[in-house]
Amino acid sequence: MKIDWIEKLQHLLQVVAFSLAIAALHYAFRPDKPYDIPARYSLAIGTLIWAIIDFGRHFFPSSEGRGWPTGLAAFLLPVSGVVLGYVGGTTLGDWWCGISSWEEGGRSQLRASIGITLLAGSLGTYYFYTKSKSAWLHAKVNEVRSQASEAQLKLLETQLEPHMLFNTLANLRMLIGTDPVRAQEMLDRIIGYLRATLSASRSTQHPLENEFDRLRDYLELMAVRMGSRLAYTLDLPDALRDVPVPPLLLQPLVENAIRHGLEPQVDGGHITVRASTQPGDSGPLLVLEVSDTGAGLPASLPTPGPGQSFGLAQARERLATLHGSAGTLHLIARNEGGTSATVTFPLKSSPNP
């Protein structure tokens, strides 16, 4: 329970002003009666109701964050606040003014003050409730916004991983001297890779053909670096060339295959990326498979944490956003060694053969 005392003081002053305003209103309707007596009652009742509700809400764990309890407590808190505040405030007012409201003479006065209390209590509660709720919503929006930009930054950071970038540039530097033609080819691949990476966050879909082109750029870059340790096959049937897919969806899977599959192995290995279709419950499914002959899955998968399995988590998240539960990503250890990652989602616009 953390109480912001500055905020509480602000609330108290607002309540005092509100109570005095009510007494003034009462006086305006009944100028024959004195101002100070209703003002004392109003102050006593108002402050007590406010104190019970505003401090009471901190005792409910569910009000953590939102500032207001949920469930039955959301309703019971203001009601009991008003009732207790009214009874206690009236007693306090009695003691302050030396009057006894509970005896015969004060009955008519009581009826009037009950009405005023109910009305003013509801108004005040509503005011503070909306105020705390809008503050909470505001904080929530900011939080979501900063999460989104953080995820985008992280995505960019993984795709432009310094190790990959600087090693690639080091290779390019060498090629410029020894083989300018190959150096130019490599530079074109780098340009393609960078362009795709930087624009991936802006477009939501591109044809599968483009996706495969970007994978080829990346694999060619890696082939220059790894030499004979990397061999790859890209298998895209003509019929599937124009199928729209989220940009760079397969990129992290291919990166994982290289980084965790091929790189640890002295002899490297082979990567196959294959697109195919498969009948599903509600229409045909697109199946994209990235398989490698690498080191295979570790006995215990690393627990998802910062920097670890971010690629997989990110691909899963994008699939879920686009296709809900219809989009799946399976990571399996292949019988013959190595790992296979399979992405499946509904083929929306079935291509004409």
Binding site: K154, G227, R229, V266
Partner: protein, 286 residues
Amino acid sequence: MNSPAPRALIAEDEPLLAAALQQELARAWPDLQVVATVGDGLSAVRQALALQPDVLFFDIRMPGQSGLDAAVELADAWPTDGPTGRPFPALVFVTAYDQYAVQAFEAQAVDYLLKPVQAGRLQKTVQKLQLALTSKAPAAIDLEATMAQLRHLLVAPGVAAPAPASAPAAASSVPAASAPLTLIQASSGSQIHMVPVADVLYFEAADKYVRVLTAAREYLIRTPLKDLIGQLDTQVFWQIHRSTLVRASCITTVSRDEAGKLHLELAGRPEKLPVSRLYAHLFKAM
């Protein structure tokens, strides 16, 4: 001075980069003779032992094992005594940009090169190496100093383990310092044995498993040794080798063999455990 031409070994898995380094070295240090270029961490150790060069250029990220692990293994196997004993080679680590690794190298005064290797920077490294080679200290002192550096690098984030993707979260790469492990759950067939950590005398990494040894018997678990280290009290279990964690209180004697290597004897187990040079500093008479 008419000493024989200095000899170097390059371990770098990317063929073009190995060629590039060799080319730059030929320009910066024409006398240096590159005796071998290898592409993985296992051949690096083999070739270095066979050829005994004066300088090693080790890439950090290599297949087989990392440049750092290769350096540790080599230091362990390096012959220090006898007629074949040559001074331990000067080590230069080569790495692509990595802020954490660079910090660790700077802190340990370990020589390093950043890829792409640039002529000016290489020149400085070469000058340092030339100076070191002409004023060579006795092998044992060299090895001792190298060991201390490697020990520190092994635990530095970004060198031994890949640095976390998000920069400020460096601490999260370290296993959570939760309550220490008290029970080992080891499966055999359809059973799971509950082995109190208090009964364990030592852990030994073996291929894909870790052997858990008590006085009475042996169990196998799949949790990697490096994950176990984070969950055990390092005051109770000492790492004495890359693949061994031993209960310090059950060590009875430490003996040194003719080759200068340490071996431990344990109360309750018949076998002798070899101590890596990396951890030999733990055992000194008071």
